[in-house]
Amino acid sequence: MFKKILIANRGEIALRIVRTCKELGIPTVAVYSEIDRDALHVVFADEAVCIGPALSKESYLKVSSILSAAQITGADAIHPGYGFLAENAEFSDICAESGLTFIGPSGDAIRKMGDKAAAKETMKKVGVPVVPGSDGAVKDVEEAKVVAKEIGYPVMLKASAGGGGKGMRIVFEESEIEKAFQNASTEAGAAFSNPELYVEKYIENPRHIEIQILGDVDGKAYHYGERDCSIQRRHQKLIEESPSPFITDEVRQKMGQAAILGAESVGYRGAGTIEFLVDKYMNFYFIEMNTRIQVEHPVTEMVRNLDLIKQQILIASGKSIADYPKEPRGHAIEFRINAEDPANNFRPSPGKIEYLHFPGGFGIRIDSHIYNDYIIPPTYDSLIAKLIVWGTDRKHAIARAKRAFEEFQIEGVKTTIPFHQKVLEHNLFINGNFDTSFIEKHLK
């Protein structure tokens, strides 16, 4: 087992990792930027090293500072959390070269899955359903027309080198495709220095349902069920739950098997998530694989009764998974609480927390790094707490969540708590009748 784990992250996930390490009896090293001097993960870790100024580029993203911190504290493993360097293939490689264990997949595995087009090809080869589309980039608009005709409109033109919505156009019929192609191509060229586009079927109002997998040390993969993350705003997840209120058991099984196929095809080790889009006919399509622990991992932990961070550490240290999949129990929903003002277009609201009271009682879990008088810095993302409720079924979980929010007080900054309370009152949410367009359509 590792002598000492350095946590190359901050905020709630850093605290989360420290907690599991303590339970495993593994000493921890926290790294922090100057503005995070009073952060909880710094206080609770056994040792802490200041690695730079507030700017992420100069601290949490600065590989040399993190490696130096590992060197001077004698840490032999690094947990990257999520975001920051968690899916940085070079960082994974450098750790290996420096004799440190990166608690995550190899640089090669990260690279393979990070190339979205290549990942799709890999999945396709082993029979995982993918979103129908062109084989890589199309030469020109004529080729795009041919592909679109084959797969059927509506289609999406997407930038090969891209992401974040740039260089993307939805085309509903052939008459629109020439103009759309030109616009998307120009935008892609400007944003990514690469005007190449590929064509994909546009799945209207999909649900975003992902499968949690663990790749064991012997190469076998196991799945731990799904998380329905369809409640999103501008492609950012806000609420996640398990089981999905939409898919049937049959589809659930098929998705789980597909996820295992996908993970085993790349010899994946450790925790990972396979993301699918599910259309209204319950067809599911692979979109991408995330080679890290995810923000919403507690949802799976509550329903499947395991500690995913612990499994990550075990697998990385060469030991087998401690908890193989069991029957799921009950229903869990996670609400991401951000320091944002929902009444003002979700504008970030950093500042000092004047009064804090977390909800409690049966079935309530809070993953958060905030405390009374804590000052939320303006320099990082706005996630300040995750409320995860567990109930015997979905109805119970919703009732519990409503009750919990009534007890939840955060004063001094604006938060998305009122927004979540609105969602919980909405008929479509209560009936499990929502897709990724829910917020856009019903909760502006």
């Binding site: 100057e34 001097r37 710094v42 206080v43 870790a45 056994d46 040792e47 802490a48 090293v49 200041c50 690695i51 730079g52 100024p53 601290s59 040399s64 500072s65 490696l67 130096s68 911190a69 060197q71 001077i72 504290t73 004698g74 420096s98």
Partner: protein, 157 residues
């Protein structure tokens, strides 16, 4: 008296103006005292087998170093602090058998090399950015140093 309580007591004493604190509980007697150079000394009687468990890394320091904590604000306010721009290991000389770059009392100017901070096998020379006299060297040779940790006090001329 459990270890966590003792750790908390030490933190409280360190951060406060208290210079000496003692408490008895049953067979255990705990005394915490602060000497002038800010070292926190803990002595106790009654639980000898806890001695080896008494490792108290200050969370804002790296424990492999000696207990040379940075001086209090009032001491250093007249002096200019040279801080480490990187995380690494502090060395006073360019090589193990060489002379240190500087000694206390030396006159320095902008560009004078004061020490090395080694990070990932790379030796980084740390240069002075003011003119003055070296008044204090805050770290022991070969001790770990974190970002912006003060290493030298310079009396500016």
């Amino acid at each position: 008296m459990d270890l966590n309580l003792i750790k908390q007591l030490i933190k409280i004493v360190e951060k406060s103006e208290i210079t000496e604190f003692s408490v008895h509980e049953g067979d255990l007697k705990l005394k915490i005292s602060k000497a002038n150079n800010q070292q926190t000394m803990v002595t106790y009687a009654g639980m000898p087998d806890m001695r080896s468990a008494m490792q108290f890394p200050n969370p804002t320091e790296v424990p492999a170093s000696s207990s040379n904590l940075p001086p209090k604000e009032s001491e250093s306010s007249n002096y200019y602090e040279i801080k480490s721009p990187i995380v690494g290991t502090f060395y006073r000389a360019p090589a193990p058998d060489a002379d240190p770059y500087i000694q206390v009392g030396d006159i320095v100017s902008p560009g004078s090399v004061l020490c090395i901070v080694e990070a990932m096998k790379l030796m980084n020379e740390i240069e002075c950015d003011v003119s003055g006299k070296v008044v204090k060297i805050l770290l022991e040779n070969a001790s770990p140093v974190e970002y912006n940790q003060p290493i030298f006090l310079i009396e500016k001329s």
